[in-house]
């Protein structure tokens, strides 16, 4: 017993190092698996308020640009409303209760990273505004990511530029779908994999979110086809997609809640459940 205590006292520095090393390595390994650590994320009060303050300052540098984008998006929405096919639909009757499947909450990106392989964005909207894990996040140009962790006033978003991200997407007009992933190299491009060889593709075709996703509504723009490869192993297409969105400069984003998601998932669970 005496010797054990002596050993611990003698090597206390090394034991402390080993303890801290095990702790930090376990945090690292945990962060590379699918479900991230509960506490080591920037959606907490302290980091959130620091990033909010930093954003207050940075915001002023792009105010003009952001206003212009907002005005042009408003113009587009007005155009849609004025040129609608059914004249009985007005901006009020548009929100009929039975059609009201999606809820949209606005948030602002206060921290954005794009220089690692696993990038996360922090926004200044959280549980209070009804944001939950696995909601889709978009902005006026296209998709941004998926909500990962939330706190009272903040949420972290798994960016499209994250090698763990996988989003159902399809080629506009042809309905052949695949998965949108990122290879961790270029911030302007993502990859659409597992597209069947039957699909007719051309460079410049638009890629939009697919109908299989529980997270995003259908037909949200993602990007344009830049290059088309054929995967030798699987014989599926792999497509390089140039993103519409500039992921290095994000401002306001919209978080989308799919109100019918639970119903859909429950139904699917019952359908695929083994029969007794």
């Amino acid at each position: 017993m005496q010797q054990i205590i002596n050993f611990i006292i003698k090597n206390s520095y090394r034991l402390l190092f080993l303890l801290l090393l095990v702790l930090s390595l376990s945090l690292t390994i945990k962060s590379h698996t699918y479900h991230r650590s509960e506490y080591i994320n920037s959606a907490n009060k302290i980091t959130g308020s620091v990033y909010t303050q930093l954003n207050y300052v940075n915001e002023y540098f792009s105010l003009k640009e952001k206003n212009k984008e907002l005005a042009s998006e408003n113009a587009l929405l007005k155009k849609l409303l004025f040129n609608k096919k059914d004249t009985l639909v007005t901006s009020k009757t548009l929100f009929r209760n039975d059609l009201n499947n999606f809820n949209v909450v606005v948030g602002k990106a206060i921290k954005n990273s794009f220089n690692t392989r696993e990038n996360y964005i922090t926004i200044n909207a959280g549980k209070v505004l009804g944001i939950k894990t696995d909601m889709g996040v978009i902005n006026d140009k296209g998709i941004v990511g998926i909500v990962e962790k939330t706190s009272k006033d903040f949420a972290t978003i798994q960016s499209v530029l994250n090698i763990k991200s996988k989003i159902n997407a399809k080629i506009k007009n042809s309905d052949h779908f695949g998965s949108l992933v990122w290879d961790g190299k270029n911030v302007g491009f993502a990859q659409l994999i597992d597209v069947p060889r039957l699909a007719s593709l051309r460079k410049g075709d638009s890629i939009v979110t697919g109908g299989n996703s529980d997270i995003f509504p259908e037909n949200i723009p993602i990007g344009k086809i830049d290059k088309i490869f054929i995967d030798r192993k699987t014989n599926y297409y792999t497509i390089n997609v140039r993103l519409f969105n500039d992921m290095t400069a994000l401002g306001y984003v919209y978080v989308i809640e799919n109100k019918k998601k639970k119903q859909k998932q429950e139904l699917e669970a019952i359908t695929t459940a083994p029969k007794k």
Binding site: S12, Y13, L16, F17, L20, L21, L23, S24, L25, S26, L27, T28, I29, K30, S31, H32, R36, S37, Y39, I40, N41, S42, N44, T47, V50, L54, S113, F114, N115, T116, R117, E118, Y120, T122, T156, V187, T248
Partner: protein, 167 residues
């Protein structure tokens, strides 16, 4: 000034500089310097080593929370803190503990060796754990070298800026 007070101030200053300024540089789109490791290098030679270990652990942990990066900064920082005596012995010779080494004094070759070695070791661990795949060794090495050069430049600038003015 009191040593522990000075170290606490350094801790806070380097952490806030890193979060507020250096994490947002993104030179050529992806290169960021990490001069917060000066906290570990500038720590007094004769002070308590366990305190340094704990200090670098919490510095790394706070940075990881800010960067959403799991535990990569924490691991790299504590390994550097643990290797620090070895690096000192390598660059200043066996009797480094008896001379009061202050890195801010003058940039001699020994000090540059120490700084470069520390930066390269820290950055390699950082990027290796960030990519977490041995197949990408070339990418990891190239990012290590580019970032290390950037960090080294910033570190030298900071050391000269905070150099005390007494002769």
């Amino acid at each position: 000034m009191n040593n522990s007070l000075l170290n606490s101030i350094r801790f806070i200053v380097f952490l806030s500089l890193q979060v507020l300024i250096f994490n947002n540089i993104n030179l050529f789109g992806y290169i960021n310097p990490y001069p917060y490791i000066l906290f570990i290098i500038l720590y007094p030679v004769n002070s308590n080593k366990s305190v340094l270990l704990l200090g670098s652990f919490f510095l790394g942990l706070l940075l990881d929370i800010f960067c959403d990066s799991g535990g990569v900064h924490t691991t790299a920082s504590i390994v550097l803190a643990f290797l620090r005596p070895t690096l000192f012995r390598f660059s200043f010779g066996i009797s480094y503990e008896y001379q009061t080494v202050k890195i801010a004094d003058k940039m001699s070759p020994e000090r540059i060796t120490l700084l470069l070695l520390a930066i390269v070791i820290h950055h390699f661990i950082l990027f290796y754990l960030e990519y977490f795949r041995l197949g990408l060794l070339f990418t990891i090495l190239s990012r290590t070298i580019v970032s290390a050069l950037f960090t080294f430049t910033i570190c030298i600038l900071i050391v000269y800026l905070i150099k005390p003015n007494k002769r």
